[in-house]
């Protein structure tokens, strides 16, 4: 038993060090800076630990916890994206007096929750991880507690998310009732099409998961929470929980529900199409960038789900590639927002961007690259994400899904172009201060250079993701 504990080493390290810095925060005054830097250190060390951990599949605790290449990939993706999100938003956090020492600690706790989500092989462990993550996210959404909009976002998110967690739990209990087990492998053996109750349970579980990744028709909270929460939190919301949620969804399709894939597929196809269409259409009229990015993230989840909807390994791979590139693009896009400051206020309206191409040409061209990539125009990285997804969709001969998906990319191109139009074609209204935020600039630079040079060696990511499913 003790010999096996090294499988759990990243989680153990993460939780122990989180509690250690929590103590540090309690006993040292004005400790935000120290805690923040320690958090970054912890994230980097956890990445190192995971990289040192072997990749072959191992299960412990009565097969309820699994460590394999799949979960390790997602853990590293979560850690790296959190690292970038946190560091590029540091100036923003301090300037908006969000610099409470709990901030990074709660983020660490939510990451711990996600670790258990992606590693779970059991309904109970999966639910615990999900709740740990959700509870942390509720607090984060309302972390600017004196701000009405932030508190509103937190409460709204809490009420709706609690409801969805309830549905999810109900689904889990039904599943346990009909299959007699909480273990994913055992559930998979028990399930078949004749088991109507289990199909019922699956629908409940899917509703809960769709809520967490804000897929239509369970997306209602997304725009309000994205707009209300402070930008640094929105950034985190838009990137990290989506990765974990998608991983969980793929995991459910891979193991417990692999025998009732057809029933599960129909629902995912619907959710995917609805998300793509709503994400594209509703974003057109938005005036606030964060709200627009909320709808765009709904649309992007739709594309990733199109990959999942194929129900084939190649489809899951394409969805994982999609979400990875999505993370890169969104980190870049949000980092740009950290550089738009005027009189100490960070601007969020699209019209404020007008004419930044003349005053801040580098920022403008980075934004341009990221936006064209989000729109999926070749030869940028975003195109490859969509290309892989639709390749795998067409492999399964799901022509309607592919054609609808690609048509919505044209609609969504319209609103990305609208931002580009504001940046490049309009005359400037306000002049932004030249903000010195090295980490955000580094994030933007990295994000842009990855997106720009992705076409040179597209197979790096491809090979990496392929290797997740080899065993």
């Amino acid at each position: 038993m003790i010999n096996n504990l090294n499988i759990l080493l990243p989680e153990i390290f993460l939780s122990l060090s989180t509690f250690a810095i929590l103590m540090l925060g309690v006993f040292i005054k004005k400790s935000f800076n120290i805690i923040f830097n320690l958090t970054s250190l912890i994230l980097i060390l956890t990445i190192a630990i995971i990289l040192n951990n072997p990749n072959h599949e191992e299960k412990i605790f009565l097969d309820s916890f699994i460590r394999d290449a799949f979960s390790n990939y997602f853990k590293i993706l979560i850690l790296i994206s959190s690292l970038f999100v946190l560091n590029s938003s540091k100036n923003f956090i301090i300037e908006n007096t969000l610099d409470k020492f709990e901030y990074p600690i709660i983020i660490l706790l939510s990451i711990l929750g996600m670790f258990f989500m992606v590693s779970a092989n059991d309904l109970i462990l999966f639910y615990l991880g999900l709740e740990l993550q959700s509870l942390s996210l509720y607090i984060l959404a309302s972390i600017d507690r004196d701000n009405l909009r932030s508190s509103e976002a937190g409460i709204k998110y809490f009420v709706l998310s609690a409801l969805s967690s309830g549905l999810l739990l109900y689904g889990c209990s039904l599943l346990y009732g009909f299959t007699g087990s909480t273990n994913f492998d055992l559930i998979a053996n028990q399930l078949n099409k004749e088991n109507v109750g289990a199909v019922f349970a699956m629908v409940f579980i899917l509703v809960g998961l769709a809520f967490k990744i804000s897929a239509v028709p369970f997306h209602m909270w997304t725009p309000d929470v994205y707009e209300g929460a402070p930008t640094s939190i929105t950034n985190y919301f838009a990137v990290v929980p989506k990765v974990a949620g998608l991983a969980l969804l793929i995991k459910f399709m891979l193991i417990p529900f692999s025998n009732i894939l057809l029933e599960w597929q129909t629902i995912i196809i619907f959710i995917s199409i609805a998300s793509m269409i709503l994400g594209a259409v509703a974003a057109i009229v938005q005036k606030n960038i964060k709200r627009l990015l909320a709808y765009s993230s709904i649309g992007h989840i739709g594309y990733a789900l199109a990959g999942v909807a194929t129900g084939a390994i190649s489809g899951y791979e394409s969805a994982i590639i999609y979400i990875s590139i999505y993370v890169i693009m969104n980190i870049g896009a949000f980092s740009c927002l950290y550089l738009l400051k005027k009189d100490g206020q960070y601007k969020e309206d699209i019209s404020d961007l007008s004419g930044i191409s003349k005053k801040h040409p580098l920022l403008a061209i980075s934004f341009l690259i990221i936006l064209f990539s989000l729109a999926g125009v070749p030869p940028l990285g975003g195109f490859f994400a969509k290309f892989y997804v639709f390749t795998s969709v067409l492999e399964q001969k799901m022509y309607a899904l592919a054609i609808i998906g690609l048509l919505t990319t044209v609609i969504s191109a319209f609103y990305y172009l609208k931002i580009i139009k504001t940046i490049y074609f309009d005359d400037s209204v306000i002049t932004f201060e030249s903000v010195k935020n090295k980490t955000a600039q580094v994030s933007i630079f990295l994000s842009c250079s990855i997106l720009l040079t992705f076409f040179l060696y597209p197979s790096i990511l491809n090979n990496l993701v392929n290797s997740l499913f080899v065993s």
């Binding site: 191409s357 040409p361 064209f372 125009v377 070749p378 030869p379 195109f383 290309f387 639709f390 390749t391 067409l394 492999e395 022509y399 592919a402 054609i403 690609l406 048509l407 990319t409 044209v410 191109a413 319209f414 172009l417 580009i420 139009k421 490049y424 074609f425 076409f455 597209p458 197979s459 491809n462 090979n463």
Partner: protein
């Protein structure tokens, strides 16, 4: 051939645009202009060398480069044959002219403009070189980004509308082509064009795939009824943008028909020939009539482009040697002539800031050199014997007469209409009475404008009298294209 000459050709402009991007040049933009001019002329010379060393006696692809790109899936494959080399040379020839033209016409953000032009050149050369469907799509679509910016940032008053229309129309057409490309991959297991030529695509798929490709090419060509973005884009784009749009971007679709639609889907190509005939005839006659009624010079030339492209599609789908050769020739000739006409409009626009025909009149009294050059290009555009415009239309009509008298008669009607609007334009702009007193103060063409226009005029007349260098280049490739097409029809 170990030296990757095609990759060099493609990435040389991109590299120099990076160089310009990094260069600091605050006061005037001389260094950026010189860098871009130098690099684009170097690209042109390289492409001439390529043309010179190309073996025109074989229809095989030459200078083929192959690199694994996405594992087990797509190869980065380039190569040229007798058809594509001419388009590459046209691209590299037009680009330096555009750069020279922007010395006079682009006043602000010159550096960015040059970067956009050079990046666009990379994409355009890539389109004509690629031997893989996905690579082709990448270059084909990638060109949208710089062109969108060229229209939107440096364009006229309605530039936003035109840029959006251009981008969304083209993107909408192309996504169906992307679906078709992926479907072809799953049908044949490859996206390598040479392999797909050999693997016959099943008959039941051909029609739908052909239509998917058409949706993209029809928009790009542009064919009636999806041509409406072109007049808007042309009118609002800056001169250099219009030139590139007319001279090269429109040719991508014609090239696409020759490279993809006909060889990959011969049965569908035969099946849809009547459709293409009708659309082409409508384009020729209808847009010629529309062109007659324009009061904006750029719009008139834009509509005439649609009509000329109608001849091209007509010629390609006659699938006769004369028809296809005429189409390729017409594309090259239109590339030179329409570029020149847009430059001519640009010359007077830079001086008077008006594109309206009614602003001008009697230019011949004050701008004799300009009027002479304008007349040469107007006559070439209406197809006067001795210019390239005549040969292209003549060959296309010869090809069409072999297939259908009715279609050929209707197409010939377009020649008459073409002469009407072109001569009327010339009459109103160059000759007639000088109503506008500002014209008297105008200066004649300056040195850089003379260089651009005279070079174009030289080639228009030279190839009009001596088309052999062009014809010999693509003749063998066209023959093999038709042979393979007939073979596919006979063995169905």
């Amino acid at each position: 051939m170990n030296f990757p000459i095609l990759s060099t050709l493609i990435f040389l402009p991109l590299l120099s645009s990076l160089f310009i991007f990094l260069s600091k040049d605050k006061k005037n933009n001389f260094s950026s202009i010189y860098i871009s001019l130098f690099s684009s002329i170097a690209t042109f010379l390289l492409s001439l060398f390529l043309w010179y060393s190309l073996d025109v006696n074989t229809a095989d692809f030459q200078f083929v480069e192959e690199k694994s790109w996405i594992n087990n899936f797509i190869k980065f494959k380039l190569g040229v044959d007798g058809i594509s080399i001419l388009f590459i040379v046209l691209t590299t020839f037009i680009t330096p002219i555009c750069i020279i033209s922007c010395i006079n016409s682009v006043k602000e953000r010159v550096k960015e403009f040059l970067i956009a032009i050079l990046v666009l050149e990379t994409f355009m050369i890539g389109v004509f070189c690629s031997l893989d469907l996905v690579i082709f799509y990448l270059f084909f679509e990638g060109g949208l980004i710089p062109m969108f910016l060229i229209i939107g940032v440096w364009g006229g008053s309605r530039r936003v509308y035109s840029a959006f229309k251009f981008f969304l129309f083209t993107l909408l057409g192309s996504v169906l082509m992307l679906v078709a490309i992926i479907v072809i991959y799953w049908l044949t297991g490859t996206t390598d064009i040479i392999q797909i030529y050999e693997i016959k695509i099943p008959k039941e798929y051909q029609n739908l795939l052909w239509l998917a490709f058409l949706s993209s090419f029809a928009v790009k060509m542009p064919m009636w009824p999806v041509h409406t973005w072109l007049p808007d884009a042309h009118v609002e784009a800056p001169t250099a943008g219009s030139v590139i749009l007319a001279a090269i971007l429109l040719k991508m679709a014609g090239y696409g028909f020759l490279r993809f639609s006909i060889p990959m889907f011969p049965l569908a190509s035969e099946f849809f020939t009547p459709l293409i005939y009708s659309l082409s005839i409508i384009a020729i006659i209808y847009t010629s009539l529309v062109a007659l009624m324009q009061d904006d010079m750029k719009k008139l030339i834009a509509y005439s482009s649609v009509a000329h492209m109608g001849y091209v599609t007509l010629g390609i789908f006659t699938l006769t040697k004369q028809g296809i050769e005429g189409s390729i020739f017409q594309m090259i000739s239109h590339g030179l002539i329409s570029a020149a006409l847009f430059l001519c409009v640009g010359v007077v626009y830079d001086r008077l800031h008006s594109r309206l025909i009614s602003t001008y009149g009697g230019l011949v009294n004050y701008l004799p050199k300009y009027s002479f050059l304008f007349l040469v290009f107007a006559l070439a555009a209406l197809g006067l014997p001795g210019t390239t415009g005549f040969l292209g239309e003549f060959l296309i009509l010869t090809g069409t007469f072999q297939k259908s008298y009715l279609v050929a008669m209707l197409a010939t009607l377009g020649v008459v209409l073409g002469a009407t609007y072109m001569l009327w334009l010339t009459k109103r702009v160059i000759f007639g009475v000088t109503k506008n007193s500002e014209i008297e103060t105008l200066s004649d063409v300056n040195k850089s404008e003379i260089i651009m226009l005279a070079t174009l005029a030289f080639f228009v007349i030279f190839f009009g009298f001596y088309p052999a260098p062009l014809m010999e280049t693509f003749s063998v490739s066209v023959n093999s294209l038709i042979d393979n097409y007939q073979l596919a029809l006979n063995t169905r």
